[in-house]
Amino acid sequence: MNDLRVNNISRSFGGLQALQGVSFDVASGNVHGLIGPNGAGKTTLINILSGVLAPTSGEVFYRDQALHRVPAHRVAAMGVARTFQNIRLFPTMTCLENVQAGHHLTAPRPLLPRLLRLPSAGREDRELAAKSRGILARVGLDAKDSHLAKNLSYGERRRLEIARALSFRPRLLLLDEPVAGMRRAEAAEVANLVRSLAGEGMTILLIEHNMSFVMNLCSRITVLNFGRVITTGSPEEVRGHREVIEAYLGSGGHDA
């Protein structure tokens, strides 16, 4: 079964055609990679899939629900979470608070019982804090729960963003360069996390420039170049594809 169906999506910014007729499917429970040289339109596509941008034309279906032209907060409510290439944390909140804030869709946190100091409010907050610590532990940040997000290292901030995205239990996770700037050991931890999430049935679409990370982790890969899909296939198929090699290495008359 396909979770996500991208059908003939185009998007232009003024005269720039960022995406042209992009189509591919992401199967349920799969880890699907999205690769391509800089400026290929990968992040634009993630922005469209998460409702941050509307496509100029084309359709996206998530579990047979139309997703194009749905605003970001409703896309999230459909069970789609994302991270950002240029990391968008809540900088002056602690790690724990970032994850607590991420529970907007799943934690009711009503105002009235809090104004009346009912015990249910305190209980909800304690349960939520415990749950949030558990999510932090999954990305290896449980020891830093009281640190401000802006004081974390680059790799830690990326992992915190994943933790925040996980907080409302999405069924589709869009990761925009999850291991960029990470040390190898740190990247391997993220790879393990992605594997275990997929094992729990979560569908994951990820953009990444780190080829060994993508090739080891993804069961299917879509390659974009200049806003068009070159190919979608298994890592082996993609690795051997002539146009993919040209797009990455150039075709300046060298023999392969």
Binding site: P71, L89, M93, A101, A107, L111, N151
Partner: protein
């Protein structure tokens, strides 16, 4: 002792009242500031509430509390109607639009008959008591303190930190902006109604541009991130002329200069406001741990 207290109140009663009302106005602005919205319309909402409450008392002979609620309601409804289109704007553009709204309210008050024109609405009974002001302030401060832990409060702070990220977590940004704007307008309207019933009269000048900026100064000086910040700021700036007089400096022209100096010092040395002196200073603690 009690006698001295009574004497103090007899001399400084009006300053004490104005501290309370200004603190309430500062809190009304804080609701929107907490969500990262810079609005300069809260003085106008206070004016709307003040005029509406005054008119309800004078022309409709309604009891004080009902008039106050009516004033808050009018300000809230106008806030809702204004908020829907205006809150698509961000940052300085929102400030400009709300500033323009403030001018519209002022000009309307000058030109309408029911508001008494430029001379203002006179003959409002002065029934606002100090304990009413401070009871309302305490209630509002409690509301603001509790708000932070609710779904609404988390959403507002998330939006202040990063609007796009907040939207991608399922937070309906425009909805929560309008809610915050309306709550702020209602609190401002309530404060305006109490002001009108304190002073016998209310004039278009009472809620002009400079008042709108004063509300912002209260927040910056006191600190926007915790409920008592705006109250501290309002208390200090409002009491300042009296304090200066106490040390032998006649207020007047230099008052604005002293306000400016305080603002500058706070921005330079206490970017999170006076409240950060009292708050458990989290950033420093976090820094110490990483060091």
């Amino acid at each position: 002792m009690l006698e001295q207290l009574a004497q103090f109140y007899a001399v400084y009663g009006s300053v004490i009242n104005f501290i309370g009302i200004n603190a309430l106005l500062a809190l009304s602005l804080n609701v929107t500031l907490a969500a990262g919205m810079l609005s300069l319309g809260n003085a106008a909402f206070a004016g709307l509430g003040g005029y509406a409450a005054g008119i309800l008392t004078i022309y409709f002979k309604l009891p004080y509390v009902v008039s106050l609620c009516g004033g808050a309601l009018v300000a809230g409804i106008v806030g809702l109607v204004l908020g829907l289109p205006v809150l698509r704007l961000r940052g300085v553009f929102l400030a400009m639009a709300t500033l323009a709204f403030g001018e519209v309210v002022r000009i309307a008050a000058v030109n309408l008959d029911i508001t008494g024109g430029a001379e203002g609405l006179t003959g409002i009974p002065n029934v606002t008591k100090t304990w009413i002001i401070y009871l309302t302030l305490a209630g509002t401060a409690y509301f603001m303190a509790v708000l932070r832990s609710s779904k609404l409060g988390w959403a507002l702070v998330s939006m202040r930190e990063d609007e796009t990220a907040a939207a991608c977590l399922g937070i309906h940004v425009t909805y929560y902006k309008v809610v915050a704007f309306t709550i702020g307008a209602m609190i401002a309207g309530l404060a305006g109604g109490m002001y009108a019933h304190l002073n016998y009269l209310i004039t278009p000048r009472d809620f002009g541009f400079f008042i709108a900026v004063d509300l912002l100064i209260y927040n910056i000086v006191g600190g926007t991130r915790i409920w008592y910040g705006p109250i501290l700021g309002a208390a200090l700036i409002t009491a300042l002329p009296e304090i200066l007089r106490g040390v032998g400096v006649t207020a007047g022209p230099i008052r604005m200069g002293v306000n400016g100096l305080i603002l500058l010092l706070v921005i330079l040395f206490l970017p999170n406001g006076l409240a950060s002196i009292f708050a458990r200073v989290r950033p420093a603690a976090a820094k110490a741990e990483t060091a």
